[in-house]
């Protein structure tokens, strides 16, 4: 029995495009594009600094079946650098980079082991004395769709070494992720492995501690739903197989969602100031990263109308982005805040309940909206009718198909607010004049 240390990383998604951001200038775009590689770089550095014995990567090294040349070259570089240090690398491929995807025709260095289409095992040695310390099992996705429970096919532990299973799967069928290689926690516990090094789910979580069933999450957040710090686990295993995990951040760009309520603001300027302070706070909290922020404007107040109509938000956004881009170009984007998007979820300050009860055009309209909200999917409903013209274009159609019900609901809500704002302009002005 010998102690050793390894790094568990997954879902590198090298050269992954970053979804949902727009309005980047070239500098920032290259910074953003580079972020996955930057995380990879940090991983190398971490491995060398921590003097780990090997690294396991649980699938999705690349982002898509069309793997970019850059990603492959950079990954090759990564492997070579680790090889120079004598750090072994054990890799499985996942649904995003299955074995059938186009890869560079190259011979892998000897210190790298990529598992094949059938589950297999290799023995890992300690760097210091080449003592065998662990058995690592794994399997790569032959194609992007693996729908059977491959965990069951993993070889049973034989020797008395520490057993690590590399698996790219959605354990217990997390509905937020595509369900590939479905398996249950029980299956894994039953296998007798000491450490299940999982990949696929990008949210870091430890499903079980004995044995360890761990999703380290991806090493770099890629869109607004992947918020918070991202990185890998440094795993220390002592003589008695006591396993200790420590999370290490690798990301250079971090996603956040912040809320900027309009309730208490009397005018746009006030709201803008409050937003500025919130952004400043975010920046100081993530001083070493670029913060990618989605601003959700919430609450009800007169500011809403100004934000909804006109170009206030567009201008504000452009302004903030311009400033940050300028700042970032100088300081390398550390501690900068880039607003990914602004989501206008606020509303005007009217009493919807009262309006709902009113025998008026607005009342009727609100009641209609409420009825429609009940049946978002109705084929002859308002939503279907209003989205219909958009369906003509394939690109937009594809976008709409991706749209979640939440988003649709959000749109309906915004439409309601917009309508009310337009129809009740006079009334609002009168009310506004009263105090």
């Amino acid at each position: 029995m010998a102690s050793f240390r390894f790094i568990h990383a997954a879902d590198l998604h090298l050269d992954s495009p970053f979804i949902g951001i727009s309005g980047l200038d070239d500098n920032l775009r290259s910074f953003v594009q580079e972020s996955t590689f930057r995380a990879l770089e940090r991983l190398v550095k971490l491995a060398i600094d921590q003097q780990v014995d090997f690294i396991v990567i649980s699938g999705d090294v690349y982002d898509s079946s069309h793997i970019s040349l850059r990603a492959q070259l950079r990954f090759l570089d990564f492997l070579e650098r680790l090889g120079a240090e004598g750090i072994a690398v054990y890799v499985i491929h996942g649904n995003h980079d299955p074995l059938d995807s186009t890869k560079l025709s190259m011979k892998l260095p000897s210190h790298v082991h990529v598992f094949g289409v059938e589950p297999g095992s290799v023995t890992a040695k300690r760097r210091s004395d080449h003592q065998e310390v662990a058995v690592i099992s794994g399997m790569s996705y032959p194609t992007s769709k693996v729908t059977d429970n491959i965990a069951l096919r993993y070889p049973a532990p034989l020797s008395g070494l520490y057993h690590i299973g590399l698996l790219h799967a959605n354990v217990d069928g997390d509905p937020q992720h595509e369900t590939y290689a479905p398996c249950s926690r029980k299956d894994l516990i039953r296998s007798g492995y000491h450490y299940w090094a999982l990949g696929h789910v990008h949210t870091r979580r430890t499903l079980q501690e004995s044995p360890y069933i761990v999703y380290p999450g991806n090493i770099q957040g890629r869109h607004v739903r992947e918020t918070g710090p991202k990185g890998c686990y440094v795993v220390d295993v002592d003589d008695n197989f006591n396993t200790r995990l420590s999370f290490r951040e690798l990301d250079s760009m971090r996603w956040n969602i912040i809320e900027a309520p309009v309730d208490s603001c009397r005018d746009v300027d006030e709201w803008r100031r409050s937003l500025a302070s919130i952004l400043a706070r975010t920046a100081s909290e993530n001083a070493n990263q670029l913060s990618m922020v989605r601003v959700r404007i919430t609450g009800r107040g007169p500011v809403h109308r100004q934000l909804e109509g006109g170009y206030v938000l567009d201008e504000l956004l452009a302004d903030l982005r311009r400033k940050e881009a300028a700042k970032g170009a100088k300081c390398g984007y550390r501690g900068c805040v880039w607003i990914e998007s602004i989501s206008l979820q606020s509303g005007d300050s009217f009493d919807t309940q009262r309006l709902l009860a009113e025998d008026s055009f607005v009342g009727d309209l609100l009641r209609l909206v409420r009825r429609e909200q009940e049946h978002l999917q109705a084929p002859d409903g308002v939503i279907a009718a209003s989205l219909e013209p958009l369906l003509e274009h394939a690109e937009i159609r594809a976008l709409l198909e991706e749209t979640t019900p939440d988003e649709i609901e959000d749109w309906v809500r915004r439409a309601e607010e917009l309508t009310l704002g337009l129809l009740l302009r006079d009334r609002l002005q009168e009310e506004g004049a009263e105090p």
Binding site: L390, E395, L423
Partner: protein
């Protein structure tokens, strides 16, 4: 409002027509052109003014002359009568204000008064604020207006058409429009300019780029493989090429050097055959030839020098020596030098001679000037000392003094003579005057007795005194007499005054006393009467005293008068006598008588005295004149004596002067004689003589010095000439005149100059000959030396003679050439080749002939160049591939297409979201609006629907208004909707009428406004016409209705349907 009376004075075709209306429903019935519509227009015009000329029918301007306008009477809501009169002013000839109209709006007040109001008040008070247009479109309608459905869409009316709660629906429509606009900006299904279109385009673009970048990996693999293959082939090719290239180069070299190689071999053979020449000195031939050349050169030089010496000697012989020139050269030179001096002397001599002669002539002239008899000797002997000059000057001055004095004396003498003559004549004149005066006086004053004037004067003064006394006395008496006489007259007058005064005083006194007494003051009376009495007494006394004093004064002077007269007479007679006195005595006699009488009449005395005084005064004046003349005469005498004395004195002085002059004359003549000068000379002239003498003496002195100078010059000239002649003689051995010899010297001198030049040349030639001889000797020595050196050279080569020396030299030269050629060939053939290579080459050349070499070489070279081409090609391909791989790598590294695609998609998503939101909002509004249109109709439409239902007899249930375009729809009871444009004409008109009726009824402020319908029912069928009348009947409950029709049946129907309807038939 209820119309009562329509009075058309002139409108359209109607003239002077009056209608009285009293029923709720009135029908104006008449055939076409009866003027029904005109009535409608007239009512409109009356209420709202004449329309413009653009609508002539509605304006109703009469065709002919006449008034345009009329009068309208109506009752307002409160039943108050109004009268409107309106006339077109332009019809009244007031063309300037063509548009104007004359309006009178009268309204009766409660108390029966009539007030005049304006159009505005009319509209407000009587017409319920309904505008002109609205009246025209809703209340006074003809068919044409009925069909203008868009009239209903005016903003004014739309407020009636929509539900009050949604603010007329404008906001809804605006909101919808705004949303649609925004949507249009964001997206249109086939739009090109919308944001989405741009985004989609760029997404398309990005997609293609992504596709491209996805091929990078495969391409990279391909390229890498190709590169490896090419590398392999290149390596093989390289080896092959190296071998072939080496062979080819050997062959080529052999081929190249083959001619040289042949020569080389030949040269080596020749060298072996060549005779020995090892003792031949290096450069032997060259050195020998050089010495030969040197010798030849030296020979030529010495020959040249000999020739030169010969020439010089010949030239020297041509220049002989001249003894004469040798001997006399120096002297000739000296004389030549002095020649200019000699000529100058000659010139000076000539000048001096001329001057000497001129001096002679001037001297002669001078002597003649002084005196013709004078000679040089005299001139020279005349001394001119200072004392002589002084003497002459003194004498001259004495003569001059004499002249001056004589001149003064002559003038003096003449003046004295003139003064003496003048004094004489004055004396004569004075004496004549005196005589004349005496004679005149004696004649004039002959009567005066005394001869002595002083006696006369004394008598006269005495007489005057007496007269004065007399006059005084007489005057004293004469003044007292008249006074007394006057006094007497006064006396007679004064007493009268006194008397009256006295009487008055007395009366006063009495009265006063009486009054005093009466007033019982006796004391006062007494005093006052006393005072009065005293006053009376003074007055009385005073008058008496004055008269007394005057009377006594005149009595004394009478006696004194008598004595004075006598003395006067006495004196008078003593004074005056002779002829005059006789006359005077007569007078005196008379006067005496008179005097006698004068004692009583002094006036006569006074006359006498006055005459006497005049005479005496004349006399006294004459006496004075006489005295003055006498004294003048005496003064003239004295002066004449004085002048004569002066004249005498002057003459004596003249004589004295003349004596002194003679003395001077003597002295001067003595002086002249002593100097033997002509006697005629005056001292003044003497001074000129002095000057001339001095000049003459000067001339003589100058002549003397000139003569001396001339002598010297003459001597010098002669000496020079003798010297010259000596020389000339010596040259030509014959005597030559000295004068000519001077000229000859010129030639001699020039010959001497030529000779000098020749001598110099001779000297030069001698020097030259000496030099040449030296040179010739030097050349001879050098030649000897060269011959010696040549001999030693020959000896050195061990050859027998010069000929064999030369042969040996040729052989040595040949050997040298051959060795050099061999070395040269070797270098050119084998340089850069090692021994092995050289050996290979030599073998190759030995074994193969030229043609064989050529063929082999070409073959090898062809294969080499083919290899090179192939190699280049492969290298280029490899380069291209490497470049491609590199560019792929960098493209891959810089590729951001996917990221940009995502960004564009995000942007698109955002736009889509915006669009979706707006689209939904728009849809919500649209649907709600539909609810409104379908379920919630506004009041107007409800009313209109009811009328429509009534009019159509229930064929249609209601009218619906679509919100978007506000078009009207008719709904059947079944719920079927028909657009108004699709309705039949009659039904459509019924629909519009219903809308109008609904609108009218929905306007609360328009309550009671009359409704005028101009033949609206022509398109209605009988049944619906009936329905219409029922509706009208119903409406007539609340408002007056006037129908116009040209159909009798209509009129009849109305009469039947509406009891109490008034039918007015128009013709």
């Amino acid at each position: 409002m209820r119309l009562e009376r329509i009075n058309i004075e002139g409108f359209g075709a109607i003239r002077d027509k009056t209608f009285s209306i009293h029923a709720p429903v009135t029908v104006l019935y008449g055939p076409n052109e009866a003027g029904k519509s005109t009535v409608l227009y007239f009512i409109r015009a009356m209420l709202y003014g004449f329309p413009g000329k653009g609508t002539p029918a509605e304006r109703g301007e009469p065709a002919g002359e006449g008034v345009h306008g009329g009068e309208l009477r109506f009752l307002d809501k409160e039943g108050i009568p109004w009268v409107i009169r309106r006339y077109n002013r332009s019809r009244e000839g007031n063309t300037v204000f063509g548009k104007g109209e004359r309006v009178h709006i009268h309204r009766q007040t409660d108390n029966g008064m009539v007030i005049e109001l304006g159009q505005k008040e009319l509209e407000q008070l009587a017409l319920g604020g309904i505008s002109k247009d609205m009246f025209r479109q809703l209340f006074a309608i003809s068919l044409s207006e009925l069909q203008e459905i868009r009239n209903l869409q005016s903003a004014e009316m739309s407020s009636y058409l929509f539900h009050a709660g949604i603010g007329g629906g404008a906001y809804i429509l605006e909101a919808e429009r705004k949303l649609l606009q925004e949507m249009d900006k964001l997206y249109k299904p086939r739009g090109k300019v919308q944001e989405t279109a741009k985004l989609l385009q760029s997404i398309e673009h990005m997609r293609s780029r992504v596709m491209e970048s996805q091929t990078f990996v495969a391409r990279f693999n391909e390229v890498t493989t190709s590169i490896l293959e090419i590398q392999e082939r290149l390596n093989l090719l390289e080896q092959e090429y190296d071998r072939d290239a080496k062979d080819a180069s050997l062959l080529r070299k052999a081929l190249d050097i083959r001619p040289a190689w042949l020569e080389w071999r030949e040269a080596r053979l020749a060298l072996n055959d060549l005779m020995s020449s090892e003792h031949f000195p290096p450069d032997g031939i060259t050195r020998y030839e050089k010495l030969q050349d040197e010798e030849r050169h030296l020979i030529t030089q010495s020959m040249r020098i000999d020739q030169a010496i010969e020439d010089a000697v010949d030239k020297l012989g041509a220049l002989p020596l001249n003894t004469f020139m040798e001997e006399y050269g120096e002297r000739i030179e000296g004389l030549w030098a002095k020649r200019s001096l000699h000529e100058a002397g000659n010139r000076e001599l000539a000048e001096l001679t001329a001057e000497y002669k001129a001096q002679d002539i001037r001297l002669e002239q001078l002597l003649r000037d002084i005196d013709p008899a004078w000679t040089r000797e005299k001139l020279l002997s005349l001394p001119i000392s200072a004392s002589d000059r002084e003497e002459v000057r003194r004498l001259g001055a004495a003569f001059a003094g004499y002249d001056r004095r004589m001149e003064g004396l002559f003038i003096e003498q003449r003046a004295a003579q003139r003064a003496a003559a003048a004094a004489e004549s004055v004396l004569r004149e004075a004496r004549r005057l005196l005589r004349e005066e005496v004679a005149r006086g004696q004649e004039a004053f002959a009567m005066i007795k005394p001869k002595a004037p002083h006696e006369t004067a004394a008598l006269w003064s005495q007489l005057q005194l007496e007269i004065e006394h007399w006059r005084e006395r007489r005057l004293t008496r004469a003044s007292s007499e008249p006074v007394s006489s006057r006094l007497t007259k006064k006396d007679s007058l004064l007493p009268r005054i006194h008397v009256r005064l006295l009487v008055g005083m007395a009366v006063m006194t009495l009265l006063l006393a009486g009054v005093m007494l009466w007033t019982s003051t006796p004391a006062a009376a007494g005093i006052s009467s006393i005072v009065m009495l005293l006053g009376m007494g003074y007055v009385f006394w005073n008058g008496r005293h004055g008269r007394e004093a005057q009377r006594s004064a005149s009595a004394d002077s009478q006696a004194l008068d008598e004595g004075g007269i006598e003395r006067v007479d006495q004196l008078y007679t003593r004074l005056v006598s002779s002829p005059y006195a006789a006359a005077a005595s007569e007078n005196t006699d008379g006067r005496r008588h008179q005097t006698a009488a004068l004692t009583r009449d002094p006036v006569r005395v006074e006359v006498q005295m006055r005459e006497l005084r005049a005479v005496m005064e004349g006399w006294q004046a004459w006496r004075q004149r006489l005295d003055r003349m006498t004294s003048d005469c005496a003064a003239a005498e004295e002066k004449a004596a004085l002048q004569a004395a002066e004249l005498k004195t002057v003459q004596s002085t003249v004589e004295q002067e003349e004596r002194r002059y003679l003395e001077l004359e003597r002295q001067w003549e003595a002086w002249l004689k002593s100097r033997s000068l002509p006697q005629s000379l005056s001292p003044d002239v003497m001074f000129d003589v002095f000057i001339k003498v001095e000049q003459g003496q000067e001339f003589i002195r100058q002549q003397k010095s000139l003569g001396m100078r001339m002598d010297v010059l003459l001597r010098e000239a002669e000496e020079y000439a003798s010297q010259c002649s000596e020389i000339v003689a010596a040259e030509s051995n014959e005597h030559i005149d000295s004068r000519n010899s001077v000229a000859e010297l010129d030639h001699v001198h020039s010959r001497w100059k030529a000779y000098q030049e020749e001598s110099r040349q001779r000297k030069v030639l001698a020097d030259r000959i000496q030099e040449l001889q030296n040179e010739a000797a030097a050349f001879a020595r050098e030649r000897e030396d060269v011959q010696q050196r040549k001999a030693s050279l020959v000896e050195l080569s061990q050859s027998a003679d010069e000929e064999s020396f030369l042969r040996m030299g040729a052989a040595a030269k040949r050997r040298e050439e051959l060795v050099q050629a061999i070395r040269h060939h070797e270098i050119s053939m084998f340089s850069g080749w090692d021994d092995a290579g050289r050996l290979q080459l030599e073998q190759l050349l030995e074994l193969t002939d030229a043609a064989g070499l050529e063929a082999q070489c070409l073959e090898k070279e062809a294969s080499v160049s083919a290899a090179v081409r192939l190699r280049d090609e492969l290298q280029e391909r490899r380069g291209r591939l490497l470049q491609e791989r590199e560019s792929l790598e960098s493209a891959g590294n810089q590729d951001s297409a996917l990221q940009q695609l995502e960004e564009q998609r995000s942007a698109l998503r955002e736009v889509v979201a915006q669009y979706a939101v707006r689209s939904m909002a728009s849809e919500f509004i649209k649907r709600t609006r539909r609810i409104y249109e379908e379920e919630k109709q506004p009041q107007v439409l409800l009313l209109a629907s009811r009328y429509f239902s009534l009019l159509t007899g229930g064929e249609y249930s209601r009218i619906v208004m679509r919100m978007g375009d506000q078009s009207l729809l008719a709904e059947r009871p079944s719920g079927q909707l028909v657009e108004s444009s699709r309705l039949s004409r009659g039904t459509a008109e019924q629909l519009y009428l219903s809308m109008r009726l609904g609108l009218i009824q929905a306007m609360p402020h328009a309550n009671g406004m009359p409704l005028l319908l101009d033949d609206l029912f022509v398109n209605f069928d009988g049944k619906r016409t009936g329905h219409a009348f029922r509706v009208i009947s119903e409406m007539s409950q609340t408002r007056q209705i006037i129908l116009m029709t040209c159909h009798q049946h209509v009129a009849e129907q109305v009469e039947a349907a509406i009891p109490g309807a008034q039918i007015i038939t128009m013709q």
